[in-house]
């Protein structure tokens, strides 16, 4: 299928089905049940899943394949966002030109930053990219205020009057795709369940599927093999007649373009940008996503992105009252004790939970969630094989 081998085609099909049915899958609990707070099937969060998925896929092309750890990838996310919102301010509220502009600008910045940072490897590369990202943040925050809106960031106002769209007086411009507003949703109520199908989510999801498909092709191409060679042994590569520099630079630019696509989509979903999008913690987050999901694997970064965004949005919503409800069946003293124990890990403490999960994954599953999945798969495989063997041995005496 589409030039993919059987295994990859299978994986891609599963990802297509899951993303298309996400509004159902992420909303497993009825609207009024106590567990409804674990539902992740609302538009805002679903959009974040796929957008950060794109960001992490792109990051993984650089880090997973070439081993160059960029610690400033959020800068490209920000550049993509600013480029996209300017396109909307000046030309049209249609998302397509905005997203394309985001990709182009992020790619150009990636080329510049990559060219300089590529002159060093290892930790120095990471520090250089981090420095670039913090410089971009500082530029956006203060120096370039006329372009970036400084601390308050940018929004689309009626006074911007894009060439091909009109923004009603006193309202904030909303992005659309040929008239279809990103925020518009179709709600389906079945029994106690409420499923939301959001236009913005589906557009972002299609972008993610395309991005994911391209990354599979890249992983399986000679180019992808060369990038893995960069990670494995640059000395051998150079003495094999290959120039490792343009390969790394190309990977950097591609991964910057992925970040630009993610940034453009963020603006398309929510038409505003602020400099905090480029802050170094945002760069660190994508590193966590890739490592949590599985560096260098195809689907890992998407899983990692999903997991982190889920925890950020769901665990942070749980508060003490909810905990008291959960442990209400226990005697009072124990109930309070349990709440006291769990309290630091919920609400604003979700970072603590994330940190613990991250440590557990790195220590016990160095290959990330993907390795966890593979181990479970192997466990089942072994069980099946053992059962099959047991059956065959059981049969032999009967014959």
């Amino acid at each position: 299928m589409l030039g993919l081998n059987k295994k990859d085609a299978g994986l891609f099909t599963i990802v297509i089905v899951l993303t298309m049915l996400a509004p159902f899958i992420l909303n497993p609990f009825p609207e009024n049940s106590e567990l409804a707070q674990f539902n992740a099937g609302y538009p805002d969060l679903m959009q974040r899943f796929v957008i950060f998925g794109i960001f992490a896929i792109g990051f993984n092309i650089l880090f997973g394949l070439t081993g160059y750890l960029s610690f400033g990838h959020a800068a490209f996310l920000g550049v993509g966002s600013y480029a996209a919102i300017w396109m909307m301010k000046l030309l049209t509220l249609n998302v397509i030109p905005a997203i394309i502009m985001g990709i182009i600008f992020a790619g150009l910045c990636g080329g510049g930053v990559g060219f300089v940072a590529r002159s060093r490897s290892g930790i120095y590369f990471s520090i250089l990219t981090l420095a670039f990202a913090q410089m971009s943040y500082a530029l956006a925050y203060s120096v370039l205020t006329p372009i970036t809106g400084g601390e308050t960031g940018l929004q689309i106002k009626a006074t911007d009057s894009p060439l091909m769209s009109s923004v009603p007086e006193g309202e904030i411009g909303r992005a659309n795709l040929f008239g279809l507003e990103m925020g518009s949703s179709y709600e389906l109520s079945v029994g106690g369940w409420l499923f939301t199908f959001n236009a913005g989510y589906y557009i972002a999801a299609v972008c993610m599927l395309i991005a994911f498909y391209l990354s599979i092709r890249l992983f399986r191409s000679p180019f992808g093999m060369m990038l893995r060679a960069v990670k494995s042994n640059q000395q051998r590569m150079n003495y094999t007649g290959l120039n490792s520099k343009p390969y790394t630079l190309a990977a950097f630019v591609i991964s910057g373009m992925y970040a630009g696509l993610a940034g453009g989509l963020m603006v398309a979903m929510d038409t505003q940008v602020g400099p905090e999008r480029m802050f170094w913690t945002a760069s660190g987050e994508v590193v966590l996503m890739a490592i949590l999901g599985g560096v260098g694997t195809l689907i890992g970064p998407v899983l990692g992105a999903g997991m982190i965004k889920y925890m950020e949005n769901i665990i942070s919503k749980i508060n003490d009252n909810i905990l008291h409800q959960w442990f209400a069946f226990m005697p009072d003293g124990i109930e309070d004790f349990m709440v006291f124990i769990i309290h630091p890990f919920i609400g604003k403490g979700w970072h603590l939970t994330l940190g613990i999960v991250f440590m557990l994954v790195v220590i016990f599953l160095p290959g990330g969630l993907v390795e966890g999945g593979q181990r479970i798969g192997r466990l089942f495989g072994r069980k099946k094989r053992a059962e099959a063997e047991a059956e065959s041995t059981a049969k032999t005496p009967a014959e």
């Binding site: 030039g3 081998n5 992808g224």
Partner: protein, 252 residues
């Protein structure tokens, strides 16, 4: 006129004269060995040939073109391959991929963005890689990770990676260092075969006299950065200067 001509090469590291006025001529399709005691400048000379070091003075010509100032990958593209003292392979990749990478380098040059072609659609290159793996008896290990190979297999793999590029000159830096006798003999046979069947000129740096005398057609003896003598193996064996500088020393 040899395929590789080194003329008047000098290289200093601070106060140390690593190479002093080295002249060397390697004839096409021959096996030329460079021997000498430790610190004689053998590896420095080799590094000057592949672009890792640039000599202070002198010229290095390969097939009529200067290699000086060129990067290692450019020199490889001219037709010089190098086998390292400790095998340099792509440890994270499979044996097959290790062979395919030099195939792509040979076909597509030092950089190409072939991001949307599938590796497994390259049937011609795959076949070429399979053949070379059979030649070095590693066909059944094609899907293993290169890092998990035994040391001897890593050497053979590295050799195969060089051979698949069909280089005109193969530089070998102690290709049998740390090998058992049986493996050493296998390597000697493999190298002989390579030289005769594939018309590849070889330049070998080696400590093991057994290897040198079984393979080399001509031998250059380096001592303290300068060539002492260059002659056939028979004459080298009987040369008193060599005995003194090298063989004599090692027989203590």
């Amino acid at each position: 006129m040899g395929i590789l001509e080194v003329k008047g090469v000098n290289k200093r590291f601070g106060g140390l004269q690593a190479l002093g006025d080295v002249n060397l001529s390697v004839a096409e399709n021959s096996v030329h060995a460079i021997i000498g005691p430790n610190g004689a400048g053998k590896s420095t000379l080799l590094n000057c040939l592949v672009g890792k070091l640039i000599p202070d003075t002198g010229s290095v010509m390969f097939d009529g073109n200067s290699v000086l100032g060129r990067k290692p990958h450019e020199i490889n593209q001219m037709g010089i391959s190098r086998v390292f003292q400790t095998p340099e392979i792509f440890g994270d990749l499979t044996v097959m991929e290790n062979i395919l990478i030099p195939c792509f380098a040979k076909r597509d040059g030092s950089f190409r963005m072939h991001a949307f072609e599938g590796v497994n659609h390259e049937t011609a290159l795959m076949e070429k890689a399979e053949n070379i793996l059979e030649d070095v008896n590693m066909a059944e290990k094609r899907d293993m990770h290169a890092a998990s190979l035994s040391r001897g297999d890593k050497r053979r793999l590295e050799m195969a990676m060089c051979l698949v590029q069909e280089p005109r000159l193969l530089l070998l830096d102690e290709p049998t260092a740390g090998m058992a006798r049986a493996d050493t003999n296998n390597t000697i046979d493999l190298l002989k075969e390579i030289n005769q069947k594939r018309d590849i000129t070889m330049c070998i740096i080696e400590h093991d006299m057994h290897v040198v005398f079984s393979l080399a057609e001509r031998i250059t003896v380096l001592a303290q950065g300068t060539p002492l003598v260059e002659d056939t193996p028979e004459n080298i064996k009987g040369n008193p200067k060599v005995q003194e500088a090298y063989l004599g020393e090692s027989q203590h």
